[in-house]
């Protein structure tokens, strides 16, 4: 079976729920491209989530609204994976679950690739950005903040994953 057409499906679904204005997905004519300038086995890779990943024991008490309108956050890459979880609820709850962080935030897998010598290393921090329903904010504020933090950590390339 071919892949799901989410744009068509969600437009029809939310129109059926009575929403008059369809969500405008991002669409760009020009796409920037930066080549990797060193061999992969020497490259330091950062993991960036475009959703919510939190650390158990540190995230309590935060209101759930935080993850719609939150700012860029960082997590030490050596945080024990058992302490990581997500408060994200927008996924296919009927087909799967989010009990394994590495199925959407593959930090252990990156550490393994570094240990095997496939990549040079994993950056000291992983980062997260929220969609915020705002393309403008992602481009003008959150994107530059992630670049700044990656530069501080000497990052050569970035793996981006949504939940």
């Amino acid at each position: 079976m071919s892949h799901v057409r989410y744009i068509d499906k969600t437009r029809a679904y939310y129109a059926g729920l009575g929403y008059a204005k369809p969500y405008q997905w991002a669409e760009f004519a020009e796409v920037p491209f930066a080549p990797l300038t060193k061999p992969l086995r020497q490259a330091r890779i950062a993991l960036v989530s475009t959703s919510d990943v939190a650390v158990r024991g540190e995230a309590e008490g935060e209101e759930p609204h935080g993850f719609m309108v939150g700012k860029v956050y960082s997590i030490p890459a050596d945080t024990a994976v058992e302490r990581l979880f997500t408060r994200q609820e927008h996924y296919d709850t009927h087909a799967t679950h989010l009990d394994d962080v590495n199925s959407y935030f593959p930090i252990s897998r990156l550490h393994e690739l570094a240990a095997d010598g496939v990549i040079g290393g994993v950056a000291a921090r992983a980062h997260g950005v929220y969609t915020n329903y705002s393309h403008r904010r992602t481009l003008a504020a959150d994107g530059p903040e992630v670049v700044k933090r990656c530069r501080e950590d000497g990052v050569d390339a970035v793996v981006l994953t949504p939940v």
Binding site: D8, H65, Q88, T96, L113, V147, V159
Partner: protein, 118 residues
């Protein structure tokens, strides 16, 4: 993605909503045909996840230009019935408290936007 690439940082997106990512347009995209929530593979299937993530980092080096998609040969182990049901009237995407939280988040967002806080 755009801001990082424009600043000289190569990126690769691992995702499972192919039409959304390709409509947006990204530099490098590894597509896994799995349900929303598990773009890097089945939960607790470390060898599958390693294959996906290794494919992604290798694409960092091998892609020659923007909009490079690598569609991995893949089938969700529990079958493909989920594709028919997602976002259908028979199966609400969000229910109960999760739906309430989503609606509250949207209101909060509107308030903040009206105040110029975003």
């Amino acid at each position: 993605m755009r801001v990082l690439e424009a600043a000289g940082l190569p990126t690769v997106v691992i995702g499972n909503a192919r039409d959304i990512v390709e409509t947006c347009g990204v530099a490098r995209f590894v597509f896994l045909d799995s349900p929303l929530g598990n773009p890097c593979g089945e939960p607790f299937n470390a060898s599958e996840q390693r294959w996906v993530v290794r494919s992604a980092v290798e694409l960092l080096a091998s892609a020659r230009g923007p909009r490079t998609t690598l569609a991995l040969p893949y089938r969700w182990a529990k079958g493909e019935a989920w594709k028919e049901k997602i976002f259908s009237k028979e199966q609400p995407f969000l229910e109960g408290e999760a739906e309430q939280r989503w609606l509250e988040s949207k209101e909060k967002y509107k308030e903040l936007k009206a105040k110029g806080a975003l």
